[in-house]
Symmetry: C2
């Protein structure tokens, strides 16, 4: 199994990327890596070339590049070449820490959609307070203009992922909505609710409200990309701000508070660990013909390692192939109805 | 100036409602209150009847009543009678701690919309970390199915409110969107961005992302009711969960952490104060012909007092009349174009 790695994406590229890949390499002997990027920068970071190869390029897509244009014009960019390798069958998965929009465009226009999936969805794993497992949410922003069928497809794809990668036998699928009753929501979410509820292949548990997300009531939360994006950012922004307020309450106050802070350091530090989702890997662009995974730009070597581990699990379980087969059979069954 | 008070709404009714009204009564001598509810329960709570009158009724709308049906069938409910009084000109504003959906229905079907406003918006005041002022956000759920013009109207109404009630000369109006660039968003938000940007009456500062909301970058944040509802709930849910994790880190750990917690008690307690928005009053249903204000069901007497203060400011400034006049003139100007 071979992963095409965009070695030049992210804030600490290529160092963090290479370091994480090397850590994963020694654990996963069945993985090979093609590293796309500047050989002059990459080579000195490699002790040897076991399981590794380099495809040299100096072109790269910047964080503020317009995604579709960047993919079309920067034909020698590390991300584009890595996607081409997946398209050509030379690699089985694409991994990047770079521009999310460009990665989506590379996935769509180079690797291509799964037949039967109208829109890929971007799916991170988020933390929940009542378990170690966290939950998946999709779409968080790949597609701002959603239709009910898209949300139904997100539920089906998230279901395969939660089974394969997270080992949940019968994942609880929920729909993010503005109330728990089935009648709640705008037309989009009412129709999506119906499609999800009517699907015998899904363990659909109904609507979930945004204030309950972190409680771990569902394994996969389905949402449209616009609402999902705002909700994800609201959670991240609020958690960051509240924790920084706690820090200020300790550091900017008197001696008494500073001593209190020292006594609490380990204990409060565990909260940060609890909300740290890097062990789950990166966000998956589900609905493409191969695993395409995005780790955040500020990811360190440890996060890169976990993301490779995540990709390894997806490849070993053939998660994407299951999605492809499922929608193939679904199409046949729909046609013979 | 007279406020119709639904004395039976909320978890601690009528005690908390009456106590808060009495506190406000002694400060605002120019206010009269009509208390709608069970006289047998209300009367014993009143030391005298100065500035007060009671309209007796025993019917009330429950928290889980279907809003429109409740308003139509429970014609003697305290909320319905209070709305009727505003409609009849016997009172100038409606105040309730009860069922939000029913209050919206009462506002729409009994009090009526401002001409030129298609959909009322529900607008709370939320906290921001960099100022005492907080910010307003609307719509957070009155209308799940929004059009660009609705969002434009929310901006205009929020602008009047921020000027009148919060004393901000030139409120910064922003649009909640999935990116800061003007080109971002789905069709709804792209079109709304254009309408807001083109309006010379607004100090529109562009898009804001959900992770920046609590930073106080805008005075009024415009959003559709579906996204606004999810975002508000995500903020509330995350803040609650993170703070409870901090509490657990202190209380469930060892002696060391408990001492640390004691030393930090006052300082960490201030965070709760910082995020306490009750001093801003309740959420306003903007777009109705009179101020209709909803305080949350769990509100205490202090919050009721602050909400009366807020209504007093709206009445003294004739905020709703300004909205009515503005949209009247706008209509004339649009017609003569």
């Amino acid at each position: 199994m071979k992963i095409a790695v965009d070695a030049m994406g992210g804030d600490f590229a290529p160092q963090a990327v290479i370091e994480g890949v090397l850590q994963a390499r020694s654990e996963f002997k069945d993985l090979d890596f093609i590293l796309y990027g500047d050989e002059a920068q990459i080579k000195p970071l490699l002790p040897d070339m076991a399981q590794l190869s380099i495809v040299h390029t100096t072109e790269k897509i910047a964080g503020d590049d317009e995604p579709v244009r960047a993919i079309r014009r920067k034909k020698q960019a590390s991300m584009v070449l890595a996607a081409q390798a997946v398209k050509a069958g030379e690699a089985d998965a694409l991994f990047s820490l770079g521009n999310t929009g460009a990665l989506l465009a590379a996935g769509l226009f180079i690797i291509g959609r799964v037949k039967g999936i109208d829109r890929p969805g971007l799916m991170p794993t988020l933390p929940s307070i009542n378990s170690e497992d966290g939950f998946n949410m999709l779409d968080v922003g790949a597609n701002a203009e959603a239709k009910p069928e898209h949300l139904h497809q997100y539920g089906l794809m998230g279901n395969f992922y939660a089974q394969d990668v997270r080992g949940i036998a019968n994942p609880r699928i929920a729909l993010l909505n503005n109330g728990t009753e089935a009648s709640k929501g705008d037309e989009l979410h009412k129709a999506a609710h119906q499609l999800l509820a009517d699907d015998p292949d899904l363990n659909f548990i109904g609507n979930i409200e945004a204030n309950d997300l972190l409680k771990g009531l569902a394994d996969v939360v389905v949402t449209d990309g616009f609402t999902g994006n705002a909700t994800l950012k609201a959670i991240e922004g609020t958690a960051t701000i509240v924790m920084s307020q706690v820090k200020h309450a300790i550091m900017d106050a008197g001696v008494k508070e500073k001593i209190g802070g020292l006594l609490l350091k380990g204990s409060v530090g565990q909260i940060k660990t609890k909300f740290d989702t890097s062990i789950y890997g990166g966000a998956v662009l589900l609905g493409l013909k191969a695993p395409v995974i995005k780790a955040h730009g500020a990811a360190d070597a440890q996060t890169v390692y976990y993301t490779v581990k995540q990709i390894h699990t997806m490849l070993a379980n053939q998660t994407v192939q299951k999605v492809i087969d499922y929608f193939d059979q679904k199409k046949v069954s729909d046609e013979t109805k």
